[in-house]
Symmetry: D2
Subunit: 346 residues, 4 copies
């Protein structure tokens, strides 16, 4: 496989570069950065000196099509909308890591305050959550790679919603993320002195990942009703990691073990989802720099609610790793190809 990486100097693009270095079937042939075109990637990131050499190019679909079969687009939301049609027309299959192709037009316009892609392109996009949509993904020309929060949230909740074990309208999701999720752009909100030894919420009830989560939950909701959730995001003074704590009312008298059995069955063939036994809980470091999603849960007999905790590395299973998992599916490879490495716990 010959691969183009667009937006390689952002944090997500950089993680795609790191992971593809270890992929036995992928050759990176084109690496773009409009702002730094002409430089080598290791000029921007000295840790890559002597490891990888990639001259940065402008993001030009025609040039890309000459050397790549697949493009992984790690550009900010709003930019990929302009580039993807050209790539598709040139015959390049695209995995878009931005939010542009995950939502219906009206939702994208409302939550992202940007002009959505054309309906034709949107209709061709497949939502790239392999644990749910693997079969659709394999044939897609355009994958909308899921957001970091939606990945952790959906993997935490799909077995419950799809099997009707909770009332999806009761869902409350309290999400926490490391700072790398905010990207490389400078802002007071990512200044070390403002972030360290601090904890805060942001975009309370207004995060653009809300409609993405609701869309998928609605899709799997057995009674077909549109699902509406409470969702709050928080910033943790650490670099990597997302942990979501989800609460929902049970529709019956299920025990913790009952629900764990449902999860085990649901994720029987999902190599990146790992379940904790009752009484044991995930932590973000357990999945650091890896594509795993760790999940633990507990039924509270006092409240008849279930609490589900899910962890991912926001840059890997929440972005670059999941994109490569999708790439493997597009290419007919085992989905773990290049991704089956131990987390960097320490």
């Amino acid at each position: 496989m010959q691969i183009a990486i667009l937006g390689a100097t952002g944090y997500t693009g950089l993680e795609v570069v790191r992971l593809l270095q270890k992929h036995p079937e992928a050759e990176v042939t084109y690496v773009s950065s409009d702002s730094q075109a002409g430089a080598d990637l290791s000029d921007v990131y000295p840790h890559l000196r002597g490891v990888l050499a990639h001259t940065l190019q402008p993001a030009d679909p025609a040039e890309i099509a000459k050397v790549a079969d697949f493009a992984l687009v790690a550009l900010p939301s709003g930019i990929s909308t302009g580039l993807v049609p050209g790539l598709l027309e040139a015959g390049v299959r695209v995995i878009d890591l931005a939010g542009d192709h995950r939502l219906p037009s009206e939702d994208y316009a409302t939550w992202y305050k940007k002009t959505p892609p054309s309906s034709a392109v949107l209709d061709s996009a497949v939502y790239g959550l392999p644990e749910l949509y693997a079969s659709r993904i394999a044939d897609a020309k355009l994958i909308a790679n899921p957001g970091c929060y939606p990945t952790a949230t959906l993997l935490s909740l799909l077995p419950l919603v799809k099997n009707g074990l909770i009332d999806p309208q009761s869902l409350i999701i309290d999400a926490k993320s490391g700072v790398s999720g905010a990207g490389k752009a400078l802002s007071a909100g990512t200044h070390f002195v403002e972030v360290n030894e601090n904890f805060k919420a942001y975009k309370v009830g207004e995060h653009q990942h809300i409609p993405e989560i609701e869309r998928v939950l609605t899709d799997v909701n057995p009674n077909g009703e549109r699902v509406t959730i409470s969702f709050t995001t928080h910033l943790v003074p650490m670099i990597r990691g997302i942990l979501t704590t989800s609460y929902a009312s049970l529709t019956g008298s299920y025990s913790t073990e009952d629900l764990l059995a449902v999860y085990r069955e649901f994720y029987r063939d999902a190599p990146f989802v790992r379940l904790h036994a009752a009484g044991s809980w995930p932590q973000t470091r357990d999945v650091s720099a890896s594509n795993y999603c760790d999940i633990g849960l507990r039924v509270d007999p006092r409240t008849k609610r279930v609490t589900v905790i899910g962890c991912i590395d926001n840059l890997v299973k929440g972005a670059a790793g999941q994109a490569i998992q999708n790439l493997n599916l597009l290419a007919g490879l085992p989905e773990t190809t290049g991704l089956a490495t131990a987390p960097v716990y320490l």
Copy 2:
């Protein structure tokens, strides 16, 4: 006022020492540490050399009564039960920062797995949340100083529950704390290498502060029913601070501004509670090293729920500062005496 501090070498006791240094009406006359008796406090904590000199003594009620009117007990739960009766009998008024005197006997035994104090002592204890029980506090002989999580949670929710604006049985509280809340004892869970760059939940649905919160919410519940909550605690890789994110279903069509008006009225005379305007949110550093509790909230029109976020410094408003606020009430002083200093934001 002459003050004894029991357990001065723990993190909470140390914070009592720090805050009382700036108190214009308090003289610290007795400082105990059974394990380090005979040493000076500055031998244990070199940052105090040249600032304060306190020879550490064993915790002896008779000796304490000779030199102190008030004792602030910052010992681990289970220890203060043994010491408080002797102090009370000797005529010393007590503020207990441990959990021993906050719960009915059966709840203490169930959640703390320890032998509760006698009924006579428990019956005399007043729960020391000044924003709710100031009048009872003034005359008390024994104050049960609230826990850190309950303080942040209750201050966040009291105006809603007491005024019947939410269904208290719908309450879900997602709480996050810095590591100082775990105290000075060594454990794998507080080793720097295990905590830093990590985020995790612990004691999910099983934290001993749950019955303390429920007891007070039940006390103010207009319909008198026993309140049961979902409550999850998480560990943030930082030293100080607690932030609670609470979710509840509204009982009517209230706007964010409606609820903020209720909070403003409720906390009109509460000098340490600060409210954020709509769209603005607290963060833990805004209250660091201070006795403030900052609160923000939002009604989500999509879900008909309210989200309330409260922040305190777990060592100050969540422990030592609140103890001094109670001490001021016991002594008939303005409750801000010695506590009206700016947070250490940086």
Copy 3:
């Protein structure tokens, strides 16, 4: 005393505000921020809501002179040069926390790459290191408040150099600072994701504090020769604190105890310098949020060198606290007035 604080929204200015809140003899009557004039300081820093109210004003010497006797100038280097003459002419005594008035013209031009103040103003400036120049400070109209690195370095070394116990030309100073020393301006070098879990050197041998240190060491050098040092600065992933590790060749066979005795004598009347006994060492947290400077040393019999370690809080003894110590001296107050509080160790 009526005090103006210029540049109150920077980190140093903010620390001046925090410390003066606790000063019993100082009234803050003017608080400037050109960029945010018209706002209240608590609009910029919500942690101050309900604690302090200061409407931000432009930095106007004539207006300042109407309400203030003293101005503490916490503006970036290069800006204070333009403001100080107007303040002095209007009869306001000035403590300049920037680097503008610490060096001879040529050194300032060389190391700061900026236009120096006029000779007349420079000649009137007194270097505000109270432990060395207290008598000169008392009568000054203009104090050049020392830099953070020079304060830690000079207090660590003055007893050795002044008493001829080391060869000053052998001095190597390895300095480490928290990130707040870089100020509030946004840069890749202060982005949380770039700084956390990282350690690096910067401005190796080229830091603008080098000539400031050398000037004072030369001033106290018994043989009068110009002192030249090796000096390297490093960035520590923490907010506050400077630690300097200094190495020098001894001029005789002195023991650790010999040297400690010299330090004890030298700092007999210095209330903010605290010495560690042999075998014990300072750490930055021991002086956090306080005006103390902690020092430890060891003679290495293997190399005939002495190692001296000094710690300060860069924002306090390295900036705002030392400015207030100087203010006390200008005003004829005890130098500890408003500054004798316990460090915030936790």
Copy 4:
């Protein structure tokens, strides 16, 4: 190659496990932990569930010899002394990551306060710094894998000392390490609340790595004199990484470029040493989770000294990675086998 890892549950052992997972020629056949024998490694470290399965065994040389050609011993100093003879006698080639086999008997006894190995075993040990001793390493039965501080220090200084460009007796090395270097054992000095937002020196002039560094510097010293250094270690509030800042007097008028040319030549065939151009400096994150050592230097024309800065990941090039580099040499493989992966910068 069949490999035994002894002491797999310590931080260094765990890193050996992580790195060998990616090694194409190594099969891990024996994993020991005396304290947790019988458990699976993923019971101790849940991040390994589903990635690796290794039942922990006692460290039994006879059993090891049945299944392994090489043993990597990641046990505390003092323990490996007892195990290595049995392994060698059983025909297992050993790489000892502890300090036991790096020093002459008397130095080991003096600096480690422990009983040294027998002379016969010590005499057979080869110091495993591949950039200096690659040819000796290839034939060794027992490798003494270098300490973390010596690795960073020696790689920083060897070209200067060996070529007589500095006076080695003038060497001052100021070293800084992340907390993982202190290992997994609990202590007040590694408690998160004591370490975070703190910076301190420890074992000033007394670190047990001093004689190890001096031994090698003496070995390459052109004039054969015993080298004595000043060496100070500091603790940085981060998990991984060592940075050393070294200072020395030049023996001639060399420029920065002169010295860089010497380094380029010296490390021409060293795949893990990367040099920074003049004016650019390494940082610990640039080598994180990798086996690289990054070096930058500057001649200071003012002081006629050179400053050299070296960075490694203490757990990789400072321990586990270097052990695998040595393993490759023992096995006749290219030394980069399994180690040529990009650092985890973020």
